[in-house]
């Protein structure tokens, strides 16, 4: 392409200077829009407008790519210089976003150009849309000249297009709610993120909630203010029967016996009883140069008292509240049309019912294992399928890049 050097700015065929100018111009228009009309309202995209926009966008890409794959303008719009300029535009907007704390609230913005609500600001939305148009046209233009050996290209670019399109346009149709269900009861009311109550075409019965905890940690505290020693750098000793000895703030700690599900006896010792009210307890020996103490320590819970081991006038050995290892809800889901589905819900193991997905969300943190309720998050996302398809295509495309690397000979020549 020697002609690139001779032609003037804006004279076709366009290349880097024009692509950069157009990208910068679009960002500038976005900023002006942001300053004058305010943030982009994502909910304008709610069904059916997102479906219509997706249709129009696809039609535009296909028309340009199929009908005029060799037109100067189509080539420019879907070419490398435009791709690089758009990517640099996204990169710069992304970096600004990365350094600016973002507002969680959908509409609140404290910054005029909307940098604190980046993904809902006009500059971002416009560059995102233009990227969709450019990438879609490129895909169409390359599909009309289909070649099997371009499989990696198709996987990456079509996958990305699907992902960007469905996640951007589908955002407005996504619904998320939280539902609280008491053990033994059935519930169909949920809360949205503004705490309004709604009724869903879906009910959940909680048959049982259970959780397990990790062995907790030991620490020495100052009895007067409850602070963990040493003050500058609090130390904790994780209970682990493989390493029964440790040092905490000058005291050597030795574990004699650990009971994961312990209940207190009348003489302040503990015995193992597997039941919801049980709590971890440990028999320890603690000594320093002059003193030796031995006794039980337990963090307690709603039904059992805390047990500490006093070391001297000021200090005690205490147990921290155990961290959850896993929690699960035994549920039955009922739908309006009479279907029912039982499931054991855990974090990372959601269940799907139609376009709804149900997640284990939380429980009564103060009660821990004794929690009388369990909470679930319910997510409705009708655009999930194309997103997942895009993700899978891009994963395959990434594997291709790993596998092939950059083919040294072919790429440089046959691109233009």
């Amino acid at each position: 392409m020697t002609s690139i050097n001779k032609r003037k700015f804006w004279q076709s065929p366009w290349g880097y200077p024009e692509s950069i100018a157009v990208t910068a111009g679009i960002i500038a228009i976005g900023i002006i829009l942001q300053l004058t009309v305010g943030s982009f309202n994502f909910y304008l995209l709610a069904f059916p407008s997102n479906l219509i926009i997706a249709g129009l966008l696809t039609a535009a890409c296909v028309t340009m790519g199929f009908k005029a794959p060799n037109n100067h303008w189509v080539r420019w719009l879907s070419g490398v210089s435009m791709a690089v300029s758009l990517l640099m535009g996204l990169l710069i907007l992304g970096i600004i976003m990365g350094f600016t704390p973002q507002q969680a609230d959908e509409t609140a913005t404290n910054s005029k150009p909307g940098f604190d609500i980046m993904t809902r600001s006009w500059p971002f939305v416009l560059i995102y849309s233009l990227t969709l148009l450019s990438l879609g046209t490129l895909n169409a233009r390359r599909l009309i000249a289909f070649r099997w050996r371009d499989y990696a290209f198709y996987l990456n670019h079509i996958g990305l297009w699907l992902l960007l399109m469905a996640s951007g346009l589908g955002y407005a149709d996504m619904e998320r709610y939280v539902m609280y269900v008491r053990e033994g009861e059935t519930e169909w009311r949920v809360y949205d993120d503004e705490n309004n109550i709604r009724e869903l075409p879906l009910a959940i019965e909680l048959k049982d909630f259970d959780m397990d905890v990790y062995p907790p940690r030991l620490a020495i505290i100052d009895r007067h203010n409850g602070q963990v020693l040493p003050f500058e750098n609090p130390q904790f000793f994780a209970i682990d029967t493989d390493t029964p000895t440790g040092v905490l703030a000058g005291w050597t700690i030795q574990l004699e016996q650990y009971i994961h599900q312990a209940v207190r006896n009348s003489d302040s010792t503990y015995r193992e009883v597997p039941m919801p009210g049980a709590s971890p307890a440990v028999l320890v020996r603690a000594y320093n140069d002059s003193l030796l103490r031995k006794g039980w320590v337990c963090a307690g819970n709603q039904t059992q008292m805390v047990m500490t081991l006093s070391l001297d006038d000021h200090h005690s050995l205490v147990m921290t509240t155990a961290e959850p290892r896993s929690f699960e809800s035994d549920i039955v889901v009922y739908t309006k049309d009479g279907k029912q589905k039982s499931a054991l819900l855990r974090v990372n193991h959601p269940v799907s019912v139609g376009a709804w997905t149900i997640y284990q969300y939380g429980y009564d943190n103060n009660a821990g294992r004794l929690s009388a309720f369990s909470s679930f998050e319910l997510v409705y996302d009708p655009w999930l399928m194309p997103v997942i398809a895009g993700i899978i295509m891009m994963m395959l495309g990434s594997v291709c890049m790993l596998w092939i690397g950059r083919k040294v000979k072919t790429t440089k020549h046959d691109l233009e």
Binding site: V80, S81, A83, V84, L87, M88, L90, L91, G94, I95, M97, G98, F99, T100, P101, Q102, M118, T119, S167, M174, R176, Y214, P215, R217, F236, A238, D240, D242, T243, E323, P324, R325, S326, F327, R346, V347, N348, H349, P350, Y359, E377, V379, V387, I388, I391, M394, M395, G397, S398, V399, C400, M401, L402, I404, G405, R406, V408, T411, K412, L415
Partner: protein
Amino acid sequence: MTWNNFIWFALPAMACWCGAGTTIYHKRGSTPANWLMLLGIAIFAVFIIGFWMHLERPPLRTMGETRLWYSFFLSSVGYVAYRRWRYPWLLSFSAVVATVFVLMNLMKPEIHSKSLMPALQSNWFVPHVTSYILSYAMLGAATIGAIIQLNRPQGYAPGIFDLIDNLIYIGYGFLMLGLLMGALWAKAAWGHYWSWDPKETWAFITATAYVAYIHIRLRKGTASETFALWMLPVAFVLLIITWLGVKYLPAAQGSIHVY
């Protein structure tokens, strides 16, 4: 094997790597350098395996633990890339950087408790994190190549762009796999595949920077070659912010990824 044993593996491994990194420049040094490098990697691998068994969970949770893998992968990737491309500096630089990460772990060890919160208990956890760390190692090696080339007044080192481009393609492949697996995991754990959490925003920035590099390289010409070379150190700074820096940013208060 606990963290207390680390020093007895770290010191010999570092000695091997540094030995390999220097002998490689001597005449007839390449055989001992090869063996030293492999020995260092093997010693390090033994520690990781033992530590994993002790923890009863993959050592991938704390920063200190991920740095362990970075040292391991960077030395391994550096060695494999050296065998493929025969640049001695590739071996010595990856040995030095692997050593620096071991030193960081010796100076600033972090608490390694056995507990793993429920959201992290997922089949995606190990492939997600290892994929990322592998890619960081690859992209780190490519950055070293770019910096060396930028400081070479006598023009392009033979085959340098082939080396860098290949490392970037492979590193990018792992980066994207890590990111996409993270998205699928987030969907399973939190209900949404992408929430623009600060760590995610920075992951997007990093990926975009490398995709930009890939496309800049599709056009020939000195200007775009120089620009592409400069792009790599910049992209690597962005990568480091994503990996290590996000938790210090004001934008990251309340991120689910800060650990």
